[in-house]
Symmetry: C2
Subunit: 472 residues, 2 copies
């Protein structure tokens, strides 16, 4: 039995180090590795990214959308059954960045992160009358004691019940914005388009609580503003439309869409004013804008976000109240707000990529930089060691790229083939160490994937450039 | 429709900012808030931490372990049914830190993070013959097409199938260490002790692939080493024992335990040598150490980690092969390794806390610092503004504590009551702004929660001290 926690001497300094926080130098871990220096470089050959399907194969043809085809081709995801996917390492990195971005923006407007169970009791869903309403979309199961549950596709019941259990929210705590980013479940009739319409998916769902309708509307506008910010930061062309509240309920609802041909929603956008709507919300054959009578243009959209002003639909059922400054109990006004996180990732690729190459929203690219070294046995082979020292210089001097730089060490392949693959994988910056790296004043080829612009830069120019790359 | 992605001019610099990464200044978000400066301070009154159960209530008595009782009392978790819990904001912060620590240590030994589905097809589980073996512990359900699934309690089947789908691993990619940190499910007969034995829980599960038994043993030792590092960094007294492989299978297995009275495993530890084992692995009535014949001492443990050398148990079934340097296909040698992440969090509290106060492993405390300002109307009330400026100074000058400092702004309460509560919540550093903050050379009271040591420090001394606090 190893007892590590020691009870320290009086000096505050020593407390800090020995007991409040026991930290081993990372060297301890490092020693275990056979080749420490090499292990520190992130080598492409060591990354798990299945390439057996790299060349177009028959199974690619089953892929029904551009993002799905590219994600399978590049070894980003693998199907494990209808609507269920393995996320492979590149995808996990992109997802974690997307989640950090959403966390940041939700917390900027006062959101507090919680984590609710997947198993939702049927009793609560019956109370809200959604147990029957949801029909076959709900995955249902019973436990060993024959109690019924569903796998939560959304959590209005649980969160309202949670808040009501505490016996009321004080007005000082309002607006209360609780959110989670967890796996959700929906038994889609025909899952398709990869992560765009799965049966298991990641969703960010936020639930807000206010004292009055007016305050709830202010909160609604704040959350919608944060949603717009997120999509802008990702560099996505999005459209916000008025929407139908469906089986969530409530009296006001908006959807955020990425316009795309494979989108499953029909949107009508006014050419004159800023009116836009999901066709579901309009009368059939409506062809003029209800605001300005301008012409409406039809487009298709992939839904990436949905906001609902719920009023007291759930708070009445579960008796979730708040207290005003006079101590009077008031049924709380609620809103709920969803972003399909895994869908947003795939939808971004759907609209940003071309048929050959992946284009990530820059800030969530799995790695920011790919460094390509010369081919073994080629004229510029001496520059292999230059590439290694450049890699070390980048990861030592550009703090935020320490964990963001991949060395394509497949030195049995030509530079050209590897550069092509690097563009296909969508690294925002591709650095090629070639012939010019051996000159007296060494130059490195820098390719901006997004614009396909190419420049030769000195070592210090390159480092300066990389220092300005923003990561999350 | 707002099109944000612009196609930029030639200059590389402008590319970086305008197109590869569109980033709005966070000011944009900030403007939406009514009171920006105030919103930036993390005020205790704005944190969702239900206090209705703060005072011992009858429901506390139902709590069956110290960690569960404290976590309910402090508003860290709420039950939503047998073995299912809401994690409230403080807990989510601690969990995210614990996950970052585990990620770091797993990646240090070459682990690559993936994310596998929760819905596991019955067909795969039948192939490994575990569908029947697992009995009532498995949550089972059928989808709308009557296909059978279980909610994965562990993922040997899925990961082995994933790897085999790619048609074989090249020897250069070995050892391959894939892991995930996801929610797992087990229909426990009697869930109890809060997060210690739940039906939904977070687990880190790693699966390793090697070319030979010898290589697999090296990998096994590396992962065990990383596990020890994690528990040491957390400052936990742990014991590693030989264990039974149970229904996971394989030929070698170890468990990591935290010794505790409520532990459900009986361990025998030798007083002479480093032998220790779960009683399950020994003959009944064995009282002497099999290695040195020394006396064995019995203790109880909470299992926080479990490692298995699997051999080819799963790789044979799913035909997961790797290729050696001659291109010869070989059935891969596997290992699997679990850490119960949510259980580890609760178990840490179980062994580190006393009956009144929470003690977090320092590095995963939800917040590192709590700043207590004077009571309104008291003699030192003038110092309220000193507390505010001290808060701002800390968050501006101590980079790593920017998001780690809470201001207890409940200035209707005495300093004494709030300090008591801050100790109960387990903030590692509690700073009190009292009478001495108004002196010509202001002094602040600094309390190290872990040792209960108290010192008065100047502003600059305090900042220096806080700069050395390590966070993850």
């Amino acid at each position: 039995m190893s007892r590590i926690r020691t009870f320290p001497s009086f000096a505050m300094e020593s407390l800090l180090r020995s007991s409040c926080q026991v930290l081993l130098p990372s060297v301890a871990t490092c020693k275990r590795l056979h080749d420490c220096a090499k292990a520190k470089r992130r080598l492409l050959t060591r990354l798990y990214q299945p390439r057996s399907l790299w060349e177009e194969s028959s199974s690619d043809n089953e892929a029904t959308s551009r993002s799905q085809r590219l994600m399978i081709k590049a070894g980003l995801i693998r199907s494990s059954g209808p609507g269920c996917f393995h996320y492979l390492p590149y995808t996990v990195r992109a997802m974690e960045k997307l989640i950090r971005l959403i966390d940041r923006e939700m917390q900027n407007i006062g959101g507090q992160k919680i984590d609710m169970p997947t198993l939702c009791s049927a009793a609560l869903w019956r109370q809200s009358e959604r147990w029957d309403l949801m029909g076959k979309e709900l995955f249902r199961l019973t436990d060993r004691h024959n109690l019924e549950y569903c796998l939560g596709p959304t959590h209005e019941e649980l969160v309202t019940h949670l808040v009501s259990m505490e016996g009321g929210i004080n007005y000082k705590e309002l607006p209360l914005l609780l959110y989670q980013i967890t796996r959700k479940f929906r038994d889609e009739k025909r899952p398709c388009f990869g992560l765009l319409r799965g049966r298991e998916f990641y969703m960010k769902d936020m639930y807000t609580f206010d004292l009055s309708e007016e305050a709830a509307h202010t909160t609604y506008r704040n959350v919608c503003g944060a949603y717009s910010d997120i999509f802008k930061i990702l560099g996505l062309p999005f459209v916000k439309v008025q929407a139908d509240a469906g089986n969530i309920g409530g009296t006001m609802s908006h959807e955020f869409h990425l316009p795309a041909n494979i989108g499953e929603d029909k949107l009508l956008v006014c050419g004159n004013c800023d009116f836009s709507a999901n066709v579901e919300t309009l009368n059939k054959n409506e062809i003029k804008c209800p605001s300005c009578s301008g012409a409406l243009k039809e487009t298709k959209g992939i839904e990436i976000g949905h906001t609902f002003y719920l009023g007291t639909k759930y708070s009445r059922v579960f008796k979730a109240i708040c207290y005003d400054s006079q101590g009077k109990p008031i049924t709380t006004e609620m809103g709920c707000y969803g972003i399909g996180v895994s869908r947003l990732l795939a939808a971004s690729l759907e609209v940003l990529c071309n048929d050959d190459d992946i284009h990530w929203p820059g800030i969530i690219a799995p790695y920011q930089v790919c460094l390509v070294s010369p081919k073994k046995g080629s004229k510029e082979a001496e520059a292999i060691s230059v590439a290694e020292s450049l890699y070390d210089e980048i990861t030592q001097n550009v703090v935020q790229l320490r964990d963001e730089t991949v060395m394509d060490d497949r030195d049995n392949l030509t530079i050209g083939k590897r550069v092509k693959e690097a563009h296909m994988m969508g690294y925002p910056y591709i650095i090629v160490v070639g012939k010019k790296a051996l000159e007296n004043a060494p130059l490195f080829e820098v390719r901006c994937h997004h614009t396909r612009e190419v420049q030769f830069m000195s070592r210090s120019g390159l480092i300066d450039l990389l220092r300005s790359v923003e990561v999350i």
